[in-house]
Amino acid sequence: MKGRLGKFGIAFLALALALGLTGAGFAHWSDDVQIEGTVEMGSLTLAFDYVEPPSCQEYYRDPATGALVEGEWLGKEVGDCDAWFDDYMEDVHSGKRGYKTLYIAITNAYPQYIVHTTFKLHNIGTIALDITEYIITGEKRDSTGAVVYDLLWYDPDGDYIGSLYEDVNGNGVVDAGDLEVINLEITNALPYQIDPCKTNKEEIDMEFKQDAEECHTYTIHVSVVAIQWNKA
């Protein structure tokens, strides 16, 4: 018994010594400093202006001079146009308000009916942005709402003065047999920059061509693309 206790005692002593030596090896004082990083990200938010609503204006072309004259030929009220903003939004960062979508509705249109729509873009975020691109698509629909043809944007020189064609053969490119139905022009020249809190007025002009078909509806979608100014 005495011998066994002696063995345990020796083992315990050895363990204590080992721990003590280890402690002597690692023991030291320590201290540290910390970095607390806080990054408040800005917001990149393009909207249609909350304050100024869009407006549209009819024109006809004076056959003698070719100049545009407000209204319709001989003062008649035949076609009609309306424009409004929808999809209200707020930038959570800046608290500024605006709209995401501009609707343009034209009724009882006819060849050489001309409509100009003006609207204001507003940078309601906190990051400067560049308007870089308009993506233009559309469809032709019949009286039941069924899609007859897709509309193709044709603007070979990229200045957004071009035409929408009915994709008659359905191959996705403007070529022989496709019909030009709407002349469309969007100002301003791209790219251009809008600083935070600043606005810029734009215009989208449409003139309907001979091949635009009676009793049909043409739907046009335009995405106005903005990216941060330093990546444009």
Binding site: T101, L102, C215
Partner: protein, 221 residues
């Protein structure tokens, strides 16, 4: 050793992805424009036959010898109308058992059943079987034709055709039809002395209307 290689590969991948992110990362936003264009309807046609008569009741005793009928065909419906309205693109006038100095008097209504004002810019009379030419014979105050003489191969006048507005007797040409508006029209046909027995004479008339804002540019190139 193998683990070390895998580690190096992983590190390289992370660095590459990081560099790619630095190259392409940007914020982007968009707004949208939705345009809807509903095209109008340009539709001019015959609405209804108002009357068909001849000159036989001017004789004494009154006889029923010749006959005239008007038939409307090729219907088209103006869907923008409430309720929708059907007009006809073709008016067929048939005279049977005609003879010299038989005169038919047809009254018919021409209507703009569309939504765009129409301007009548031309009336084209085309000779058909048995006829050779259609010559303008008289004009209204505006110098637009109201009367055509249809001649046979010998140059003899066999039919005289008058087409004019019923109320003013002016030509249909240079006449504007507002949407939903009808214009009563007189169509008179007189058979002349040189018309041959047992022959059939045919002709057609095309009344051309264009949208009112393009009338000055007619004829179009």
């Amino acid at each position: 050793m193998r683990m070390k290689k895998i580690g190096l590969l992983g590190l390289a991948l992370v660095l590459a992805l990081g560099l790619t992110g630095a190259g392409f990362a940007h914020w982007q936003d968009e707004v949208y424009i939705e345009g809807t264009v509903e095209m109008g309807d340009f539709l001019v046609g015959w609405l209804e036959v108002l009357e068909e008569d001849d000159n036989e009741d001017e004789n004494d005793p009154i006889k029923e010898v010749g006959d005239v009928t008007q038939v409307l065909s090729l219907p088209e419906t103006g869907v923008h109308h409430l309720p929708p309205e059907t007009v006809y693109k073709m008016l067929t006038i048939t005279i049977t058992n005609g003879y010299p100095q038989y005169e038919s008097h047809c009254k018919v209504s021409l209507k703009n059943a569309g939504t765009i004002p129409a301007h009548i810019v031309d009336v084209i009379v085309t000779p058909g079987a048995g006829l050779f030419a259609a010559n303008e014979a008289s004009w209204d105050l505006n110098l637009n034709p109201v009367d055509w003489e249809l001649v046979d191969a010998d140059g003899d006048v066999v039919l005289d055709l008058v087409i004019c507005k019923q109320e003013t007797l002016l030509s249909l040409i240079c006449n504007q039809l507002e949407p939903c508006t009808a214009e009563p029209v007189d169509i008179d046909i007189e058979i002349k002395q040189d018309a041959e027995e047992c022959h059939t004479y045919e002709f057609s008339v095309e009344i051309i209307a264009v949208q009112w804002n393009k009338a000055d540019e007619y004829p179009f190139p």
